[in-house]
């Protein structure tokens, strides 16, 4: 016997848990992640899938010269609001459980973390796709500006490195 097809009600939209924070000082991604995972586990149980991205300041610029530091400027109020809106939009779009963004501001040294994006979801696909989309979105849509210091001179960058 074949059951008749019945239109399915769309699943209730699940608002992901969002954490967004700017760091004026260096942070250690493993420590941040451990705290985030512990909070999520307490609220939702252990995640079946997590995607993580850590971006660090590279030591050499596009001209092959040593980088002394990157200086990150932002627009207080708007930057935080943009990050939160992007996290919510991407999180809802991919149906994930939680999104974490940590981003440095101020002077960041080579090797130090500049951005951490983590996504928790039921499956690897949404976790990875959400993380990738969110990272690209924040690079182009959140008001940050980088000044690269090399040889004692600061140069404002007008774009991002290729994907």
């Amino acid at each position: 016997m074949v059951e008749p097809l019945v239109p399915q009600e769309p699943a209730a939209e699940r608002v992901p848990l969002l954490e967004v924070q700017l760091h004026p000082e260096a942070f250690e991604p493993p420590e941040v992640l451990a705290g985030w995972q512990a909070r999520l586990t307490a609220l939702q149980g252990a995640a079946a899938a997590e995607s993580l991205f850590i971006g660090r300041v590279r030591g050499i610029n596009a001209a092959g010269e040593p980088i002394e530091a990157l200086e990150l400027e932002h627009y207080p109020g708007m930057t935080e609001a943009c990050l939160l809106a992007l996290a919510e939009s991407c999180g809802l779009g991919h149906g994930v459980a939680a999104v974490l963004i940590r981003h440095r501001i101020g002077r960041v040294l080579p090797g130090q973390a500049i951005v951490l994006v983590a996504v928790s979801a039921d499956r690897r696909g949404p976790a990875q796709r959400c993380g990738q989309e969110l990272l690209e979105a924040l690079k182009h849509e959140a008001p940050f500006w980088k000044r690269e210091w090399s040889g004692g001179r600061g140069t404002w960058l007008t774009g991002n490195t290729p994907l």
Binding site: G77, M78, L138, W145, W156, L157
Partner: protein, 106 residues
Amino acid sequence: MPTPVPPDPLTTSPGTTGLRVRLFAGLREAAGWDERLVSWNEAGTAASQDAGAGDVTPRSLWHQLQLGSVALPAGLRVAVNHAFAHPEQPLQPGDEVAFLPPISGG
């Protein structure tokens, strides 16, 4: 931090109903200032002398403050009250307008 610029006719005292204009990064350094308060009357007068409908807009402010030519440079974006906006969006007294050079986050 850039050297503070002396008061000029465009600068009003805080609390006056006007427009707050903010610049960032390389744009701020090229202009030599990061924030100005522009009186609504001055902005309206300047906009009426501009081509267009006479509305006070981010583009009319850009021209009024001598930040560049009438057209905004490619890659420059505008925010009004912390939200991205069109350069021709009509402004209201009390708005905060920011001119944003090309973004490079992450």
